[in-house]
């Protein structure tokens, strides 16, 4: 897929809580095709200690409005600077990068997200729904404030949640939810994105039950386009770039 460098205009910065914002960015011409699971390398200006671009997954796409959404978790200076952007500010993106989640062979799919890893699952769910598949979501967070934009996910599919403190949904991690404990779970393809320990237990569960599982990694990156070989992950074929061979991998392909 052809890659682009473009200046987007911030049309909305919606603060969800102390930690998360959703940036809505608009392009002054038509957007290229963007696949679910792809990401953008965002240049962060006016952040003196942020040297490299920040890889951020595409949270949602609206081709008609020429808009994309990024869910940003404020972790360091770079993401905090992104979180403070105002309507009208410009943001330079290299995009769309990476492969994508696959088209499933089944209509029974589960999308498992944790923390900021829920971001690409909204766009994935939307695309699945367009193709006649109603996805089930299983979204986990530390507490109810960490579960962002649930209403958006509810528009797309069935939403199940877990929180570590039990403030919403099932208490515990996603793996403790009944959806991941029954012998006949009612889905045969899992897409997951979130903290690596979470994805590992989800993948292990899937492999044990013969369920296909795709995971989206977020390794530390420099270039985002396969040139620097910094973001590698170990696979059956040795080191491959997370940015170009991934970020989405079949869990059985990874050595982790």
């Amino acid at each position: 897929m052809k890659k682009y460098i473009d200046d987007f205009t911030v049309v909305e910065n919606r603060r969800l809580n102390d930690e998360y914002v959703i940036l809505t960015l608009q392009l002054d011409r038509e957007l290229p095709e963007i696949l679910p699971g792809q990401f953008a390398e965002v240049r962060v200006d006016n952040a003196p200690n942020t040297f490299l671009r920040r890889p951020i997954s595409i949270h949602d796409v609206n081709l008609k409005k020429r808009q994309i959404k990024l869910l940003v978790q404020e972790i360091g200076e770079g993401t905090r600077t992104m979180g403070s952007l105002q309507k009208g500010d410009k943001l330079n993106l290299v995009y769309p990068l990476g492969n994508s989640f696959s088209d499933p062979d089944t209509k029974e799919v589960l999308l498992v997200g944790g923390g900021c890893g829920v971001a690409p699952l909204l766009y994935l769910g939307r695309k699945l729904k367009e193709n006649g598949i109603t996805p089930k979501f299983l979204l986990g967070a530390r507490d109810r404030d960490g579960l962002i934009s649930l209403d958006e996910y509810e528009k797309v599919g069935e939403v199940n949640v877990t929180t570590e403190d039990g403030s919403l949904g099932t208490k515990g991690f996603v793996i403790h939810h009944p959806l991941m404990r029954t012998g006949n779970p009612g889905y045969d393809h899992i897409f997951t994105c979130g903290p690596e320990p979470m994805m590992k237990v989800v993948a292990k569960y899937a492999e044990k039950h013969g369920i296909k599982c795709e995971v989206s990694l977020e390794n530390r990156m420099a270039c985002g386009i396969g040139a620097c070989l910094c973001c590698v992950t170990d696979t059956k074929d040795g080191h491959v770039c997370t940015c170009t061979d991934g970020p989405v991998f079949d869990s059985t392909y990874l050595k982790w």
Binding site: C231, V232, D234
Partner: protein, 305 residues
């Protein structure tokens, strides 16, 4: 109309003084969507060794103030794979393709150089005697005169085209190493490779790189690189190619004024994939503004009196 061409001799003529540095520009293909890469003076492709290398374990990169550390460790599929699979795809780019050659032994450098010598559209190699991220070879060859000499001497015998030798900044006297490789028949020297550095996460008390130490690049190293380019250009007659933290045309011009005949752009490609064409344009504008007819007039043009 400014003449931007630079002749580095022995078959390496650049349409402009701007090349992309090894390990930061892949094989050129990665950047094709962004601009016409034939506009570049040259592309130094990824470090190539005698056989397949997996490189170092993840994590291999850490961002640091005004720069980054890397510890990729020469991951590549080996020279035979390059010649068979990659070379046919890129050989018709209308720019100079140089292969960065590395090895653990003198014999490995020789073997890779011999195989690259067979490839018609490769006008030169960049001998990497300065990689800080491999246990054997690499920087070990570039940090003492006798070992640097042994590599250049062996490769010169099997390689006819342009040999650019990439020097390590991790030495006491870089000019001494440069003079030694010049004496063995190197056609040019490029510097600097990355500066050995490290980073620790205080909270977890762990190093940020799997290898603990790695190579620092980016604007943080520019003053060191500029100083070394100046020192080396005073010491050798062969052309000097300057690199280390170039982000803008002004940076590139500073390297030329310090003594570089050409420059390479590395880490900046990660932040702005279009940076190299912007630098070319910026150099041209500078020359026009300063009534410089040929970019070669900039080389060593620093005024000290």
């Amino acid at each position: 109309m400014v003449d931007l061409t630079v002749d580095l001799k022995n078959g390496l003529k650049l349409k402009n003084p701007v090349m992309t540095a090894s390990g930061t520009f892949g094989y050129g293909e990665e950047y094709e969507d962004f601009f016409d890469i034939s506009r570049l003076g040259g592309i130094i492709v990824k470090g190539t060794t005698g056989s397949h290398r997996e490189g170092n374990p993840y994590p291999r990169m850490a961002e640091t103030p005004h720069g980054m550390l890397n510890a990729v460790g020469l991951q590549n599929k080996g020279v035979d794979y390059f010649a068979r699979e990659i070379y046919p795809r890129i050989k018709d780019y209308n720019t100079n393709l140089l292969v960065n050659v590395s090895g653990s032994t003198v014999e490995e450098y020789e073997d890779v150089a011999r195989k690259i010598n067979e490839l018609e559209n490769i006008p030169g190699i960049e001998l990497n005697i300065s990689c800080p991220n491999v246990k054997e070879g690499g920087m070990a060859f570039g940090t003492s005169c006798p070992s640097a000499v042994s590599v250049i001497n062996a490769v010169r015998k099997v390689y006819d085209n342009h040999i650019m030798v990439k020097l390590s900044p991790n030495v006491t006297n870089v000019a001494e190493i440069a003079s030694a490789v010049e004496g063995e028949g190197a056609d040019s020297v490029s510097l600097i490779n990355t500066l050995l550095g490290m980073a620790i996460d205080a909270e977890s008390r762990r190093p940020l790189l799997s290898t603990i130490t790695g190579g620092l690049s980016g604007p943080a190293v520019k003053p060191v690189a500029l100083r070394m380019v100046w020192q080396v250009s005073q010491a050798v007659k062969i052309p000097v190619v300057g690199l280390g933290g170039i982000m803008t045309a002004t940076d590139a011009i500073e390297f030329m004024l310090a003594g570089a005949s050409a420059v390479q752009i590395g880490t900046a490609n990660f932040i702005d994939p279009l940076v190299s064409v912007k630098v070319i344009k910026g150099i041209e504008d500078y020359c026009e503004r300063h009534s410089v007819n040929s970019v070669t007039e900039l080389t060593g043009g620093m005024i000290t009196d």
